[in-house]
Amino acid sequence: MASALLSLRHINPPLRVAQTSVRYAAKEINSSDPRIEIIRRVLYPSNLRNRASPTGGWRPDVGRRLQRAIPSVQAHETIERAWLLHQRHIRRSRQSELDKKFQSMRNAMEKLRELDPVLYRAANELEDPRARSEEETELLKTLKGPEKKAMEARIRGLFPRELRVPTETPSRDGWNYNWTPPSRTVQ
């Protein structure tokens, strides 16, 4: 049994793979709509090896094009290593910032535990985003419009809806300085 497994090792995998025996040209002169011709040519491109196609079936010019793009193999590898090093620096600094913030938080919780067990216990309670007390449900039924939106946008334990993702350029209106609180929301 061991010999059978050993003999499997000597089989060389084939060097040419994915080779079709049928080669066909793209052009098919038909009197129908030229758009259909275009679609047929895109879906079934010619696999004659004379021109590079959008499907990338034959690319003999890759070496030449790469020579245009990169200075040399060594230069390319140096650039890659420099980039990975740069990413590692960024990752390290982010991690250390997070660690400092976490230590500060842990310190504060430790102090709170020493001073006041009740407040500590309250601070450690988990917020359940699904739970909503009865008064809030009742209040929500009575509210309308922007007040209702404001209350629905704030779910305990989840980030608010109005938190914006940074964009490439700032918004046309800028910051909203004239915000007024809706009158009847329960925060």
Binding site: R68, E127, E162, P166, S171
Partner: protein, 298 residues
Amino acid sequence: MFSRRAVASCHVRRNAQRTRFPCRSLATVTDSSSASTSSAVPPLAPSKPKKESPKYTLNAAVILNRSPIITRTPTAFEKSYHAYQSRIQRALFNPFPNEFYFKPGSLLEGKFAAEEREREKEAFGGPGRSDSSDSDDAAIAASKQVMEVLGEEEAVKPMPRVHESDLKGDVKSLDRKGERNLYLLVRGKNAAGKEIWRFPQGDVQAGELLHDAARRDLHAECGSFMDTWVVSRNPIGVHQPSLSDENYIFFYKAHILAGQARPDGKNVHDFAWLTKEEIRTRVDQSYWVSVEDMLSDF
């Protein structure tokens, strides 16, 4: 989605937890209040440890953060690496199926071809880079022609990344330094009567939880014309102003989503939205040591 029964059981459990502790705290409140009235000390926070320990006061402060509005500017290295990678991609990608996307000989095809020539020149630098103005003109002319024929509108120009408050140095503006994290600092009198810059803070009332106290104090000192969100029930840091005095300030992180601070004028006279280094220059050294770990570097 969880069934209603699961949610109700969660709810019931939390309520049960809540009812357990008020009983315990009520017992300690009566003990401590009888002890404190005899010694003529101001009323304290609800519970007290069993051992005879020095009395303490708790304050809640808020670090109100305006998150970045715009993405960070890439460094020169990052820009050149991105340009290098896009050049490689341009060299290696398969030819674009022009006939599928554009009708041969159409105006749009001409516009696309001109833009492609532009991009190729930008990536590889064509022969005779000096006449780049001509190729620019060709691309612009092609797009203008398309606009006339198809009735497209001019592409709307985006707003600049540098705001005028950056140029003026207006520290009260919330549009300044769009890439950075800004924090609200207020100017008020400390215990000794000196004017100092600090984060908005206030006292914690009896029976009140710390994060609720933080929200209340923020709105009391800086007005309620700000849409804020306190992130969590946990404090992010603690500061003891003087070692002799048992006074602790617990900091809470909050975000501002809209509005502006309007200081009440009683405790707080002035405010500013500052980055981490700017806060360092204005704040006392001992305060800074406690606070610096809570702020974001960028």
